[in-house]
């Protein structure tokens, strides 16, 4: 799965000239990059991070990194810039998840005492949003990055500084949990 979630609006907004100007550090062009990608970056960060505040901080860190590093961006065209910015955002979001070490406080946590005890037939019919938020931070990040954003397990393993097997097992755990909470959907 290599096709990243499309953000068609972005492509029309930025052209090669704007990208080159942004790479040269022109603030007006960097603002165009920000305007083009802020929605995409926040949407990703908000799904990976537990709180809106964390997602906002990730967005800020992402664009600061973009301002710092866009000069070394070697891709061509808005499409590759989209993938690059998204990769920066994913990295920042995963760094935040690792740094915060959120407590797995809810009773549905994979690592909690009730893990694996909830049979599908008594599954709570939780709203998908709620169910997603109740996943462990790592599982939520993996299922979102893999199933929605289209990153491979190799990509995720590299970004999380873990193994491919770890990414696969986290994805399976996420689906098992969601299956239990949402039942037959």
């Amino acid at each position: 799965m290599t096709v990243l979630r499309a953000n068609v609006g972005v492509i029309g907004v930025l052209d090669d000239i704007a990208i080159e100007r942004a790479k040269a550090g022109h603030l007006d062009a960097l603002e165009r990059v920000y305007r083009a990608y802020e929605g995409m970056v926040y949407a990703l960060a908000r799904r990976v991070c537990k709180t809106a505040e964390d997602a906002e901080d990730v967005m800020q860190e992402t664009f600061l990194e973009v301002c710092r590093s866009i000069g070394s961006f070697r891709g061509e065209g808005p499409g590759s810039l989209t993938a690059w910015v998204k990769r920066v955002a994913a990295n920042k979001a995963l760094m935040r998840v690792r740094r915060e070490k959120y407590r797995e406080a809810d009773e549905f946590s994979e690592d909690g005492p009730n893990a694996g005890r909830r049979a599908p037939d008594v599954a709570l019919q939780l709203d998908l949003e709620v169910a997603l938020s109740r996943l462990s931070d790592t599982s939520r990040a993996v299922v979102w990055l893999h199933d929605v954003e289209g990153y491979t397990h190799e990509d995720i393993a590299e970004m999380m500084d873990r193994t491919v097997s770890f990414s696969k097992s986290q994805l399976a755990r996420a689906h098992t949990r969601l299956r239990g909470w949402l039942g037959g959907e």
Partner: protein, 204 residues
Amino acid sequence: MHCTMDEMLAVRDGEGSARAKAHVEQCERCQVEMDLIARRAAALRALPVRRPPRDRWLVVRGQALAERRHARLARFGWGSVAVAAGLALAVGLRGVEFSGRDDRPAALVAEAAAGSAIDDLVAQSQQLEAALRAYGPDGRVMSGRAASLVAELEDRIALVDQGIARVRAVNGSREQLVNLWRDRVLLMEGLVNTHVTRASYVGF
């Protein structure tokens, strides 16, 4: 024996074993689970896109500009400060010699005092720059308001630096230099205070 979740996800992603693929093809229950996996992924992709609640561009812009200024300072700043101090000292010494030849002891005393004041202010400014560097503002996140204040202070410091350079270029009075360096120290104090009281550490 039915497929595990890992096996079904592998089959979905085109990485499943031959045994798992064969099993899914003939097992109605596993096919239902495969369908649920696909529907779950589709439902996740269909979740509404969340929009950022606030515009952070001004904060990002302020921090990016601050980083550029710090980088410039790291490359050229200390050299400029040293040159400024050296020039101020040279101007002071020349003034002392000139005043001495003119036999104007009062002026000589005033010039020497101004030179000493400049030295003190340059030293204070250096200490504040060092304190700010030691604090590590690049690794911290601040509110939009604080970032705007920082950007404004840094802009004013840049203007003062330009003023110092202009005064030096035209051999302006040491009184002007003293005033400019005094302004710079006050602005630097404001900058350090703003960073220390309004930023929070996030690390990298």
